[in-house]
């Protein structure tokens, strides 16, 4: 088995991983950045809208332009990048199994940053296995990476930011969006995203859900999903206890159903490494404990981005930067004072992204996660003292 070594291994070349790699490398560390995809950038290349935040967060710049700039910085800094390569396992001593161009390798690194991102949730309903029922992320990949329209007329399930943004992107790509349905009594995503698709004539049904998707003819008409795929979508109103109201059903013609029903952190490697977790629903489920350096309960193993709790790309980039700085400091590439200065700057930017009515829940969730880490550390210290 071939050995691969680096001072810092960063797993996942999305916004968090790119920033972690850049910070650690520019401090002087030898950094290997690994991604299972053929292209780096994670979800950034599918984010064609202008980002929010402030100038320091690159507000007003479109996601794919942020990705291009990040990739240039990472390449110029001298980070080694391995694409189409999969880290499939990790031991508590942080040695990793790596498939590098189909070759099984043993990867060892003094510091490891896991920035594996999140995966889309699924929701079952009658007909949810029909061709034409896809994740909203899949629709984004088809439009922006493969340049294929997933369907001609789409029903979007979920009015969080993903559902709203992907609806707008489907319209821009030339599809019709028949409706956005949201089971909650209110729109979860930013109002400005909702307003954009409303102005384009898309109805948003809050307090409604999809009850059934069905076809009818074998040929599937000229619908994108093809033979046997979705042709009709039944929507039903929900009462205050989230139960379907009999008789409230109505049917829309559509060849595609996009599910935008939340994301879950991709924590498999972190579990495997033996890290401690906390269940935080606001972050999408079980998330690894970490400290202000983004270091987990396994020394030298850092986490950043959606894998620490689902937020968005701007916070992922800042968390990645924190992890990169902390790893470089731990390796002796940054003095304590230089690292403290960098970390304080990043922390201030992170805080401003977790303000306001949309940030409150995430800020509280992050505080809970950090507090759980502090409790774990003090328990360990006591145990050590005994």
């Amino acid at each position: 088995m071939r050995n691969v070594a680096a001072e810092v291994a960063v797993i996942g070349a999305g916004p968090a991983g790119l920033c972690a790699a850049y910070q650690a490398r520019s401090a002087g560390a030898d950094v290997l950045l690994i991604d299972e995809n053929k292209l780096p950038g994670g979800q950034l290349f599918k984010q064609i809208h202008k980002f929010f935040g402030s100038g320091e967060h690159q507000a007003g710049v479109r996601g794919f332009d942020i990705a291009k700039a990040l990739l240039t910085r990472v390449a110029e800094s001298g980070v080694r990048v391995k694409l189409d390569s999969l880290v499939y396992g990790i031991q508590p001593d942080k040695s990793m199994g790596l498939l590098d161009a189909e070759e099984n390798c043993l990867l060892r690194a003094e510091k490891v940053v896991i920035a594996a991102g999140a995966k889309e949730n699924y929701t079952p309903f009658a007909g949810s296995t029909l061709p034409g029922v896809i994740g909203a992320g899949a629709a984004q990949t088809m439009i922006h990476i493969n340049r294929v329209l997933p369907g001609k007329r789409v029903v979007m399930v979920g009015a969080g930011n993903v559902g709203l943004i992907v609806s707008y992107q489907l319209l821009q790509a030339g599809a019709e969006v028949a409706a956005v349905v949201e089971a909650a009594p209110r729109i979860g995503g930013y109002g400005v995203h909702a307003a954009k698709i409303r102005r384009a004539g898309v109805p948003i049904y809050v307090g409604h859900t999809i009850s059934r998707a069905y076809g009818g003819t074998d040929g599937g008409g000229d619908c994108g999903a093809g033979a046997g795929g979705v042709e009709h979508v039944e929507i039903v109103r929900l009462d205050e206890n989230w139960r379907p109201v009999a008789g409230s059903e109505f049917t829309l013609d559509a060849d595609t159903v996009c599910l935008a029903v939340g994301l879950s952190p991709m924590t498999e490697l972190i579990w495997m490494a033996g890290c401690r977790f906390e269940y935080i629903p606001a972050f999408g489920g079980h998330v690894p404990l970490h400290d202000h350096n983004m270091e987990t309960t396994v020394g030298g193993l850092y986490v950043a981005g959606d894998v620490t709790g689902v937020e968005e790309a701007s916070t992922a980039m800042e968390e990645g930067g924190l992890a990169g700085v902390a790893a470089a400091e731990a390796l002796g590439y940054l003095s304590a004072s230089a690292a403290a200065r960098k970390k304080a700057e990043i922390a201030a930017r992170l805080n401003s992204l977790r303000e306001g009515p949309f940030g409150d829940a995430r800020r509280a969730a992050k505080e809970k996660q950090l507090a759980a880490m502090a409790r774990f550390c003090s328990c360990e210290a006591e145990r050590g003292a005994v």
């Binding site: 809208h49 202008k50 980002f51 929010f52 935040g53 402030s54 100038g55 967060h57 507000a59 007003g60 710049v61 479109r62 332009d65 319209l171 821009q172 009594p185 209110r186 729109i187 930013y190 109002g191 400005v192 995203h193 909702a194 307003a195 954009k196 698709i197 409303r198 102005r199 384009a200 004539g201 898309v202 948003i204 809050v206 401003s352 992204l353 303000e355 306001g356 009515p357 949309f358 940030g359």
Partner: protein
Amino acid sequence: MPEGLVYTGIPSAAELAACPGIPSRERTAKGRVAVIECVQEIPCNPCERVCKRGAIKIGERITELPRLDGGLCTGCGVCVALCPGLAITVVDKTYSATEASIDFPYEFLPLPQKGGLVEACGRAGERVCTGRVLAVKKTAAYAGTAVVSIAVPVEFADDVRTMRVLRATEK
């Protein structure tokens, strides 16, 4: 069905009335001015940064709503293309004796042609009236967003916020 942005995706009349980005009736009567329909506290402040006249204020806490100073705003429209939420228009109720002009961000293809007629639409995408295209601007600084200016009867100036391109059969 309750009203308001979080229920319908449309800012209600009450939300707009309370919105600090909306110019006063007196200011609007004087001519071109930005109308910032930003009613929800999200972390975002490019409008403040791009306004060279200092007419838009948010401050340190970037989730505060933008406040428009109608006295400083000249209606230059730089903010229209650069608001990530596409929430700003420039309205000129003095465009002519009978018409107002509305400048709004537009991110669909095909772009309309100057001098052409379009369907002027409201906040729910509903047709309000016919609009005449005065200008289509898409500079490099706008980063992909076009700003379309259309003329509509002045009585619709508060309702028209976007447009649809008319298909050949509808002209």
